[in-house]
């Protein structure tokens, strides 16, 4: 490709993204839908700015999914993965099995043979990791039961792609419609799938072991070495090299690159450079994923759609309905309640990007006739396009029903007067605040995204609203107009800041108190001029240290006073550090180094403060000295006198 062509295309894609995504966001549609629509617009059927090359770009941009899984892996500690094993294999496995059977069955009714039916079933049972995780994360729903369930299912599908890619050529042998391309290698010419089975297994095991060993024991030293250069772009390059390297290696041994980078992410989840890695990969992931969505939009074949709108929409409808019902059933079976199972079902009811790979692979292997695969491609793309819309319907129309239904069940339980306090986020942090306020007879209205909390919280007199405190309509419904205080207790720092900015603009009368994730966050919050903030772990750390002092022989009162002095000086010191931080902000300092530098500053200022000055009054040393002096004068005189006498 000529560089001019490249820049021309870059301008088209970037313009499409820059124009449509903010618009979509404004309209509450989410970024994924914005990208998809942008793609449709610039595609060959509307503005004709992009032609067939959309598909090539799509293959390239699929790498965004790989990066996303790496980032997700970074958030998932190995122990968490182990805890989720039931849900990954149980929920994920059953989802695929049942969906494949039903869709396969329906395909046979339409006259396709068994193998084709199985292929279609498998392809359609896939969901879109890119859309679902991106959308759920954007809405802050990843930690809900539905979010966790979706993640499990998607992870299982990622794993399942590998055997499916292995099985499909075998099936092609059976179909025998065209035997030319049967032994065309899976992904590219140099994959090792041509090697004998045991060698391939050996390579796979070796590679996985290498990732685990490298991530556990080597990565730390490599990252430290790189970070010490202080060159940001080299760290970025290292991070990219890591992800791309693993992806290519995985591809070579015939595993899914996404799965490989996910594994690498998990291994690195405990690593101290995790945040640095995240910060470096995140923008690439975002852009590539956006590019991928645009490419999907632009490669949609509206000609097929125009020729057979009934067939396409019919299949789309059946597909979504079947997937939805299967998911709903499984969600219930796996104990999702109060609307979570519906969110879960809406989220995963589409078919995803793996389907593109599987479809083209199937038609290359002559499993599916050209015509069928063409229709399938547009159905898959449309189903992805529809997902954000389905989730909006869920948000606006379905979830409120659950809240309402509960309201109707327990009408007397809800105090109708307006509460003076709103609490956004009712997790570990918010719960304690809510309990404390309640114990003191202060009513609080809770905004939370975990609907499991809702029913019982109502019983205890909390007013509860399901959803994200970023949403203006929700804040209004919760009584932001009449409340006095808003406590922002969600755990994501970006979200905290975002909520504060919004609320300050719309409800300037509300006094805002916020949870701060660390020292730097307190500085940010301080600059935002809110009524109060508290570091989320600071007080408990000090309290625990008090216990430790006690263990080491301090009296309990002494330890307790030491803590109060410490707090007092900490506050003074934080003010000083804030100044320093403001100066620091202007020059670039490596993230990790900045933390240690600030710690150093803290320790230096601490040395200057005499921590126990306030206890000097109980320290009678100076008094004792004075009395000793007086006594010496007295006895000195008397000794002198004795001398005289003798």
């Amino acid at each position: 490709m000529h560089s001019q062509d490249f820049f021309y295309q870059a301008i088209i894609f970037l313009t499409a993204a820059v124009v449509s995504v903010p618009l979509a966001k404004r309209l509450g549609l989410g970024s994924a839908l914005g990208y998809l629509l942008a793609g449709v617009l610039i595609g060959p059927y509307f503005l004709k700015l992009v032609g067939e090359e959309g598909t090539d770009i799509m293959h390239f941009a699929e790498f965004g999914v790989v990066m996303m899984l790496f980032l997700i892996g970074l958030e998932v500690k190995p122990s968490l993965l182990w805890n989720m094993r039931r849900s990954i294999f149980g929920l994920g496995g059953l989802q695929m099995l049942i969906t494949t059977l039903i869709i396969g069955g329906i395909s046979m009714l339409f006259g396709l043979n068994v193998l084709q039916a199985i292929a279609i079933g498998l392809i359609f049972s896939m969901s879109s990791t890119a859309i679902v995780l991106q959308t759920l994360a954007e809405k802050g729903l990843m930690k809900t039961p539905a979010g966790q369930g979706s993640f499990s299912v998607l992870l299982f599908q990622d794993i399942a792609v590998i055997p499916i890619l292995a099985i499909l050529p075998l099936m092609a042998n059976q179909v025998r419609t065209r035997s030319v391309d049967l032994h065309e290698p899976v992904l590219n010419e140099t994959t090792v799938s041509a090697l004998p089975g045991w060698q391939q297994v050996f390579l796979i095991v070796g590679l996985v072991a290498l990732i685990i060993f490298g991530g556990r024991f080597l990565a730390r030293y490599v990252f430290r070495f790189i970070a010490q250069t202080g060159l940001r772009e080299i760290f970025t390059a290292t991070a990219l090299l890591l992800v791309i390297g693993i992806a290519v290696a995985m591809d070579r041994v015939g595993l899914s690159p996404a799965l490989g980078t996910f594994l690498a992410g998990v291994v690195l989840a405990d690593n101290e450079y995790r945040h640095e890695l995240e910060a470096n990969i995140e923008p690439f992931k975002g852009l590539l994923l956006g590019l991928f969505f645009i490419a999907v939009g632009s490669s949609m074949d509206f000609k097929i759609f125009a020729d057979q709108p009934g067939t396409v929409l019919g299949i789309l409808g059946i597909l979504i309905l079947v997937k939805f019902i299967v998911l709903l059933f499984l969600g219930r079976f796996f104990r999702m309640r109060t609307g979570q199972e519906i969110l879960f079902s809406f989220a995963l009811a589409q078919t995803g990007e793996f389907a593109f790979v599987l479809i083209s692979f199937s038609s290359q292997n002559a499993i599916l006739p050209e015509q069928v695969s063409g229709i399938m491609l547009i159905v898959v793309a449309l189903s992805m396009l529809v997902t954000p819309l389905l989730l909006i319907i869920n948000d606006r129309l379905v979830q409120p029903l659950f809240i309402k239904a509960q309201k109707e069940q327990e009408p007397d339980e809800i105090a109708e007067h307006d509460n003076p306090v709103l609490i956004a986020g009712f997790g570990r942090f918010g719960v304690v605040i809510g309990r404390f306020l309640r114990a003191n007879g202060i009513g609080a209205t809770v905004l939370d995204t975990n609907p499991d909390n809702i029913s019982f919280l109502r019983k205890f007199g909390f007013k509860v609203y399901y959803g994200d405190a970023n949403r203006a309509d929700l804040l209004e419904a919760a009584g932001a107009e009449t409340a006095k205080v808003l406590i922002v207790a969600v755990d994501d720092r970006e979200q905290i800041n975002h909520i504060i900015e919004q609320v300050q603009r719309k409800y300037p009368h509300l006094k805002i108190y916020a949870r701060a994730s660390d020292v730097r966050h307190t500085f940010e919050l301080n600059d935002m001029n809110i009524a109060g903030y508290r570091r989320e772990t600071y007080d408990s750390s000090v309290e625990l240290a008090v216990r430790v002092l006690g263990e080491l022989g301090f009296s309990r009162y002494q330890a307790n006073r030491a803590a109060r002095s410490f707090r007092y000086h900490d506050e003074i010191m934080m003010k000083e550090l804030h100044q320093l931080w403001n100066e620091d902000k202007r020059k670039y300092i490596n993230e990790v180094r900045r933390f240690s530098q600030q710690l150093e500053n803290i320790l230096i200022s601490e040395k200057d403060h005499a921590l126990h000055e306030s206890d000097h009054a109980w320290d009678i040393e100076s008094r004792r000295e004075e009395i000793r002096e007086m006594y010496e004068i007295l006895t000195g005189e008397s000794e002198g006198e004795e001398d005289k006498d003798t």
Partner: protein, 202 residues
């Protein structure tokens, strides 16, 4: 015209929301010019008293008031903590501890019992000045002048009007001390500072 004294009211009440009398007393005096109202329980809810700050406040004023309800014949605990920590050796007493020399101080207290029960042959066996001996001696060790107390007796039985009157008295006394209306002899002749007002009425 004499120069005005600067007054520092060191107020200690752990449950002001339940108070009837002290609340009125303080709202009657808070706006007096050259008077600093310093609410110890509010400033130091965790008893972590900022000694340096307190000492600076003391240096900056001429007359101090320990205002508090009379709990168990003494002060609420934070005032004792304040005395323990702020009146340090080397600052308030000892060879070099002369910072408070010549400053004036008195207690402004409220008691549930009426004046009669604080007599040697009555229920409480001692008079208010006798009970206040530790405060007096504390002041005297610091070379301060401990003036007679301002006492509001029988708080349980006082009507709203009587409380209001007591609050006005308190205000008048503080203003007259600020402006040095009374001579030292007049002050020393009283049992309670309250009695000074009778002098003005005569």
């Amino acid at each position: 015209m004499n120069a005005r004294n600067k007054i520092l009211v060191l107020f200690a009440h752990p449950a002001l929301h339940k108070s009837r009398v002290n609340r009125q007393l303080i709202s009657a005096i808070k706006d007096i010019e050259d008077l600093t109202f310093h609410n110890l329980y509010e400033e130091y809810p965790d008893f972590h008293i900022d000694v340096k700050r307190e000492q600076d406040l003391l240096l900056d004023h001429d007359i101090y008031v320990w205002q508090h309800p009379f709990y168990w014949y003494s002060s609420p605990s934070i005032l004792k903590e304040w005395i323990d920590l702020v009146l340090k050796h080397g600052f308030a007493y000892g060879h070099s501890g002369t910072a408070l020399k010549g400053k004036k101080i008195f207690s402004a207290i409220t008691t549930g019992g009426r004046r009669e029960v604080y007599q040697e042959d009555n229920m409480n066996n001692f008079t208010i000045p006798q009970f206040l001996a530790p405060f007096r001696q504390t002041a005297s060790l610091c070379n301060m002048v401990y003036m007679p107390p301002f006492v509001t007796h029988g708080t349980h039985l006082l009507s709203e009007d009587e409380i209001h009157a007591a609050a006005l008295d308190y205000r008048k006394i503080l203003i007259s001390l600020r402006d040095q209306i009374f001579s030292d002899e007049e002050i020393w002749r009283c049992n309670y500072l309250n009695d000074l007002l009778e002098l003005t009425q005569k």
